[in-house]
Amino acid sequence: MGIQKSTRWIAWLWLVLGAMYFVVPLIATAEFSLRAKKGVYSLLAYQNVFAQSKFYESFGFSLQMAALTIIVGMVLVLPTAYWVNLKLPQLRPVIEFVTLLPFVVPAVVLAYGLIKIYSRPPLLLTPSPALLVAGYVALALPYLYRSIDAGLRAIDIKTLTEAAQSLGASPANVLFRVIAPNLRVALLSGAFLTFATVIGEYTLASLLVWPAFAPYINLVNSSKVYEPSALAVISFLLTWGSIGLIQALGGRRSDSSQLAGTR
């Protein structure tokens, strides 16, 4: 009984310490962002941020890049993960290793590699945002692949595929009409993780010289006092909003389309 009680106390202590580690800096940042007006709390820093056209431009640019990264990443990863799970499960460790490379290769190395190869003819791609999107796709691979792979493992893709094929469905119909709709949560998770990665990514955008959101925050950070904190809070809110959206959509899905078993 005594041991149980002390274990519970230790668990709570660690929980509180962990929460403090994450929450205190956030509260401090939010509190600091409200101090732009001397002596009173105000939203002045936020007003200043929202008054800057650069904020919208950089955020808009990052949004576009995030959308493109999600589309390109999905087009690349979904059929690959589906095919590996369906026909080549023995290749799964290899694919998993490849998708983990962005964790091993630093973004700065990736950026220099891209610049080195694609900054001169015949592969002059540095002036095109396509190169930035390609870099983002590489950085988002671990999140995208794992989300989709987990989703694919949760359903019986072999039987669903064969059932659809027996009804005359082409491979594209099988993938987009049968498999993908059953991966909604996995695809959303992958999409939002990619979104968060792209919005917060600094190195690639900065070294490839694109006006993205993270370099803009860095720029503001070097010239303003309270606005960087306001921008940080806005970034957090955007990320939390994305996670909330995943939970809301995921919760709704579990009501309507779980895989059924024998009854």
Binding site: E162, A163, Q165, L167, G168, A169, N173, Q258, L259, R263
Partner: protein
């Protein structure tokens, strides 16, 4: 010439021969079951007909055309899976209409056909339900309707009742047979359940270790098993080692037994015989084909009482219909067993 023909089908996985020298002609509208234990190659054969596996050797002909090389989507087959395989994100109606949508049918056509199919499976009230909102039996009915909606040339059923409980299984198998007869569709049914195969099929293909042991009607398969495997896998079989005495007489453990058919070997030859438990009876007196024995166990099976009797080196099961007026023997009782000459079969 059958409607569905399998010619010398062989399937090899690595070094394992999963199906070997499989030949079968199925007539239009016929209901054929592949019966065998797990791993005997019955599902592999079905999957080759569907196009999910490619034979290592042989040809598959449907309605006069060799379908080898055609993908499953082009074979015009309907398939029902053990795990139902309904699309979880679609309602029952959408599942049934999926194949029609793929085929580019109009919305009105799809609606009409889906309605007909729901009537056929007697579940029109479940059109809007999702798979997880239906019972296993309902899901399998919807899966059957989905497979039939596109009017396939052959219906393939891969152990469709295995995941259901006993009562639903019996109900649904009767419905499957009734629907198949009404539509006149050619059907191949894979099962490891002998009762299912016997009750449903026009013909049964009994398989063992990738090979066909016997093809025949349920009556033939049960009453005239061609091999020891068929005799013991389909129903219960008593097996005996015998020595031929003359053309219609064998000796088993020193007891002479007459046979109805002329024996395929000469005097002194060793034969393997089988006899069904329900053909044996306990006799009151000595006589031809009556042998003495000792009761070892008596098992009450409801409608049947099974007595296990030791006769020399052999143990024979004897099934008698349960009769409350008739007290069954007890273990240790000395009894006489009548082995009808017509019930003794020589097996390969």
């Amino acid at each position: 010439m059958g409607y569905l023909e399998l010619h010398n089908i062989q399937k090899i996985f690595g070094t394992t021969v999963a199906v070997d020298n499989f030949n079968l002609d199925v007539a239009r509208g016929e209901f054929v079951s592949f019966l065998g234990a797990s791993g005997c190659g019955k599902t592999t054969t079905l999957r080759m007909i569907a196009g999910f596996e490619t034979p290592s050797h042989g040809a598959i002909v449907i309605d006069g055309a060799n379908v080898l090389g055609k993908p499953p989507a082009k074979r015009k087959i309907g398939m029902v899976f053990q795990s139902y395989a309904l699309f979880p994100h679609m309602s029952a109606a959408d599942n049934i209409g999926f194949g029609l949508k793929i085929a580019g049918k109009s919305t009105a056509e799809i609606k009409q056909r889906v309605g007909e199919m729901l009537e056929l499976i007697q579940l029109p009230q479940l059109a809007g339900r999702y798979p997880h909102q239906m019972s296993g039996g309902q899901q399998q009915r919807v899966a059957l309707a989905r497979a039939l909606a596109t009017q396939p040339t052959v219906l393939l059923l891969d152990e469709p009742l295995s995941a259901l409980d006993a009562k639903i299984r019996v109900e649904l198998r009767e419905d499957i047979r009734a629907i198949q007869k009404r539509l006149g569709i050619t059907a191949i049914y894979v099962t490891h359940d002998q009762e299912e195969a016997l009750s449903l099929s026009d013909r049964i293909v009994v398989m063992n270790h990738g090979k066909v042991e016997q093809i025949g009607t349920p009556f033939e398969i049960y009453n005239f098993p061609a091999t020891q495997f068929v005799a013991s896998f389909v129903g219960t079989a008593n097996l005996m080692n015998a020595t031929v005495v003359d053309a219609r007489m064998v000796e088993v453990d020193g007891h002479r037994l007459g046979t109805h058919n002329v024996l395929p070997a000469g005097p002194g030859a060793k034969l393997r015989l089988t006899v069904r438990p329900e053909t044996l009876t306990l006799a009151d007196a000595e006589g031809p084909n009556v042998v003495p024995g000792e009761v070892q166990t008596v098992t009450f099976l409801g409608s049947v009482v099974r007595s296990r009797v030791k006769i020399g080196t052999h143990t024979l099961d004897i099934d008698a219909l349960n009769n409350p007026q008739h007290v069954p023997p007890s273990p240790g009782d000395r009894v006489r067993v009548h082995v009808p000459a017509a019930a003794l079969l020589v097996i390969g």
